[in-house]
Amino acid sequence: MTGIVAVLITTFLASAVEAIEMVTIVVGVGATRGWRSTLIGAASGFGVLAVVVVVLGAALSRVPIGPLRLIVGALLLTFGLQWFRKGIMRVAARGLAGIGGQDPHEAAEWPGPGMDWTAWLLAFKGVVLEGLEVAFIVVTFGAGANQFGAAIVGGVAAVIIVGGVGLSLHRTVRRIPRSLLQLIVGILLTTFGSFWSLEGLGVEWPAGDGAIVGLLVLYVLTAATYITLERQRAFGLRPAA
């Protein structure tokens, strides 16, 4: 019983870390681009994940997560920088004004009748990448302790609980000004993109996974500094040149 409890707790906590990253991306994309395409992308990711886990099984531990992290991390970093930059410019220009209102120049949600492929792709990739890590944790822990059932329960429980908490808070997320939310999501995507792309290259971060917090602090301070500079420039307190 002790073995089962240890595997349950370990896989739950380890999977929860990855599940938080997954839910952060999905909630952030859903709140800014709309939920329909985002949730379809996330569901597609889970569908692909279910097929991958079933087909590969125990061989999943041999999937090269390194190259996958490098590619997805680089793409998230590049895309995240776009939102990061635009978020700084818009918050500097409008501050926190218009809480809950729409950007008059851009729809708050995908206006078209079809799929928002950007939201779909971001949610899909976030779910697949983090889901593969959860599957890796489940398979390795389960194989090591010969307790696949407990490992699977721990991993799935983490995703369900963290996912439920994250999605239930999405109404609160919608009340945050969109420009600020774009900035926050841009910071998060840039943070995870920076971390994953370098992990994919085999670079060791100081403090391991704790480096994510360090990157987050650095990028938040960067945003605050550039917003201040941009507002000073806008009010004529500093020249642009």
């Binding site: 920088l81 930059r85 700084i88 990157l215 650095l218 960067t222 642009a240």
Partner: protein, 71 residues
């Protein structure tokens, strides 16, 4: 064929806008930063700081360029 060509161009434009956006220099800086990081890491030189430095620097350069264009 015209329709297929338009679809291919549209698809390619989607990926370009999605990944690169309206400032291609930031994407190039990320690619160069990752390559340099890989080279430094391969030579056992601490390299984790290069990408965060690239991010902070390129944001400043891009914002400054956008401000000049806006004036």
């Amino acid at each position: 064929m015209d329709r297929l060509g338009s679809w291919v161009i549209g698809f390619g434009r989607f990926w370009y806008q999605f990944i690169i956006g309206d400032d291609w220099t930031m994407a190039v800086a990320v690619a160069v930063g990752l390559v340099l990081t890989a080279v430094l890491n391969a030579n056992h030189i601490l390299a984790w700081w290069l990408i965060p430095l690239t991010v902070v620097t390129m944001l400043g350069i891009s914002l400054r360029r956008a401000s000049k264009v806006g004036q």
